[in-house]
Amino acid sequence: MTRRNVWVAGFAMPVMIMLLLLAGSSSVTAADQPPAANAEVKIDNFSFGPQTVTVPVGATVTWTNHDDIPHTVVSTDGVFKSKVRDTDETFSYTFTKAGTYPYYCTIHPKMTGKVVVQ
C-alpha cells in the first residue's frame, strides 16, 4: 500500500464503516478496503493461513486449530503466548499497539506467521 493509499484509507475509513453499516453488505473493492477490524487465522496442515494478517490497532486476531495435532501460537518477542490448542480449539489476542508481531508454533517451530498492526 502506498503512502497516499494509506492516507486515503485512514481518512475514508469512518465513512466507509458507516456506509457498510447502513448498506449491510460489502460493495467496496479490495483496493479501497481498510484492514478488517478483527481477523481469523486458520491452522491447517501445519501452517498458519494467512501467514501474514494485517489489522488496525485494537483488533482481535483469533486462531483456530483445524489439525489433528496440537499447536501453539507464541509471539517470537514474548508479546503473547497461547496455551496448547488441540483440534478445533481457538486462541485470541487483541493488539493495542501498532507494529509487526512475528509468531510461531513452539511445538512445530517451522510453523511461523506474522501479524501486522497499523
Binding site: 501445519f46 496448547v84 517451530p109
Partner: protein, 340 residues
C-alpha cells in the same frame, strides 16, 4: 520374504562389503515400513539380513543382550488415524513380552503423551507396568513438554537427569546417551540440543575408549531427513562430531513414525515406528499430520524395534517388527529395497 527381495539385499550387502558404505544402497533401503530387517554393526561395516531368517533367536547367549525401543505412543490421541492408542501400545507390550529373548530394558524415544496431561502419563505408566522388562529409559518428545516446560515429565521420568532431561548410562560395556532435542525450540528451526547439552555431551564422551559401542537416543532425528517438516536437529552435526572417533555408534530416534535408516562411516542412524499412528513419507502429503490407513492395515505400520548387542565383534543389530504378524506386514505394505 520373496527371494527376489533377498537377492537385492544380498547384492547391496555385497556392495557394502566391497567398498565400506554404499550410500545409494542404503538410501534405497529407506522407508522400510514394517518389513523387518536386521542391521548388524560389526567393526563399522554394516551387515544385514532379512528379519524372516531370525537373527534374534540366538541373541541373549553369553554376554550378549538386547533391548527394545518403542516410540511415539501419543497416549490421549483419539482421532480416526487410531482411536485407541492405548490398545496398540498394549499390543506393542505384548509383542515385547513374546520376544524369544527377554530384553534387558526398554527405551522410549518420546511423545509418551499427546497433550502432557497427567491422566495420559498415568495410562502410559499403567500399560508399561505389564512389560516383561522393568527398567525403562525415557527421553521426552515435544508432546511431553507442552504445558509446563516439561516440569511434569522431569518429575515422572527424568529424576537424576541433567538440564531438560538428558543423561547417560552404561550397560554391559555399551555406553548409552539419552538426549533432549525438543526443548526451547526456536522459530523457523528444527530440533535443538542447545549449547549446555552439547557441552555436557562432549564431557560425557571424553576419555572413553574408542572401542566402546555408543548408542545415542533422542526424539527428533539427529540427522536431517526433511527440513521442510522440521525432521532434523539444527545442531546435531556438533553432537555427531563428538562420536566420530568411536568404532560403533548407533543413533535411535522417533518422531517421524516410520522406519528410516542411514549409515555414515561408523554411525548408523535409525528411526522407529510409532505405537500410535503412522505419518506420511517426507513430502508425500500436505503436512506431517497423522496418516489414515484402513483399520486392518494399521498394525502393519506400527511397531517396536528390537536391538541386539553381540559381544563378539561388538556389534549391534536393529530389528524392526510391526505389531501385526511379520508375515502379513511384509506383504501388506509392499515396501522393500528399491521402494523408497
Amino acid at each position: 520374504m520373496p527371494d527376489k527381495k533377498q537377492d537385492l539385499i544380498d547384492q547391496q550387502l555385497q556392495d557394502l562389503n566391497n567398498d565400506g558404505v554404499d550410500r545409494r544402497g542404503f538410501l534405497k533401503c529407506m522407508a522400510w515400513a514394517g518389513t523387518g530387517l536386521v542391521w548388524t554393526m560389526s567393526g563399522g561395516i554394516p551387515v544385514s539380513r532379512a528379519f524372516a531368517k531370525g537373527y534374534g533367536k540366538d541373541a541373549g547367549k553369553g554376554g550378549d543382550f538386547s533391548f527394545v525401543q518403542i516410540s511415539d505412543s501419543h497416549i490421549g490421541f483419539n482421532k480416526p488415524a487410531n482411536p485407541d492408542v492405548t490398545a496398540t501400545l498394549q499390543t506393542a507390550i505384548n509383542k515385547i513380552n513374546a520376544l524369544p529373548h527377554k530384553p534387558d530394558f526398554i527405551i522410549h524415544t518420546g511423545d509418551l503423551s499427546q497433550l502432557s496431561k497427567p491422566s495420559e502419563f498415568d495410562t502410559l505408566d499403567q500399560a508399561l507396568k505389564g512389560a516383561s522388562a522393568k527398567q525403562i529409559y525415557f527421553v521426552p518428545g515435544e508432546h511431553d513438554m507442552l504445558s509446563d516446560n516439561g516440569e511434569q515429565y522431569l518429575q515422572r521420568y527424568g529424576k537424576g537427569t541433567k538440564g531438560t532431561g538428558w543423561y547417560s548410562f552404561d550397560h554391559k560395556g555399551v555406553h548409552f546417551v539419552g538426549l533432549v532435542n525438543v526443548a526451547n525450540l526456536k522459530a523457523g528451526g528444527m530440533g535443538s540440543l542447545g549449547h549446555e547439552q552439547l557441552e555436557w555431551l562432549e564431557g560425557d564422551l571424553k576419555g572413553r575408549s574408542a572401542s566402546t559401542p555408543i548408542v545415542l537416543f533422542a526424539h527428533i532425528p539427529l540427522w536431517t531427513i526433511y527440513p521442510e517438516w522440521g525432521w532434523g536437529t539444527d545442531d546435531s552435526e556438533q553432537a555427531l562430531s563428538y562420536v566420530k572417533r568411536f568404532g560403533s555408534v548407533t543413533v535411535l530416534n522417533g518422531h517421524i513414525h516410520q522406519i528410516m535408516q542411514k549409515v555414515e562411516g561408523k554411525v548408523s542412524f535409525h528411526t522407529a515406528m510409532s505405537t500410535a499412528f503412522p505419518q506420511p513419507a517426507p513430502g508425500k502429503a500436505p503436512s506431517a499430520g497423522p496418516m489414515k490407513v484402513p483399520a486392518d492395515q494399521l498394525q502393519g505400520v506400527l511397531g517396536i524395534t528390537d536391538v541386539n548387542y553381540v559381544v563378539s565383534g561388538r556389534s549391534l543389530a536393529v530389528v524392526d517388527s510391526p505389531l501385526a504378524d511379520s508375515g502379513s506386514s511384509a506383504s501388506g505394505n509392499g515396501a522393500g529395497p528399491g521402494a523408497s
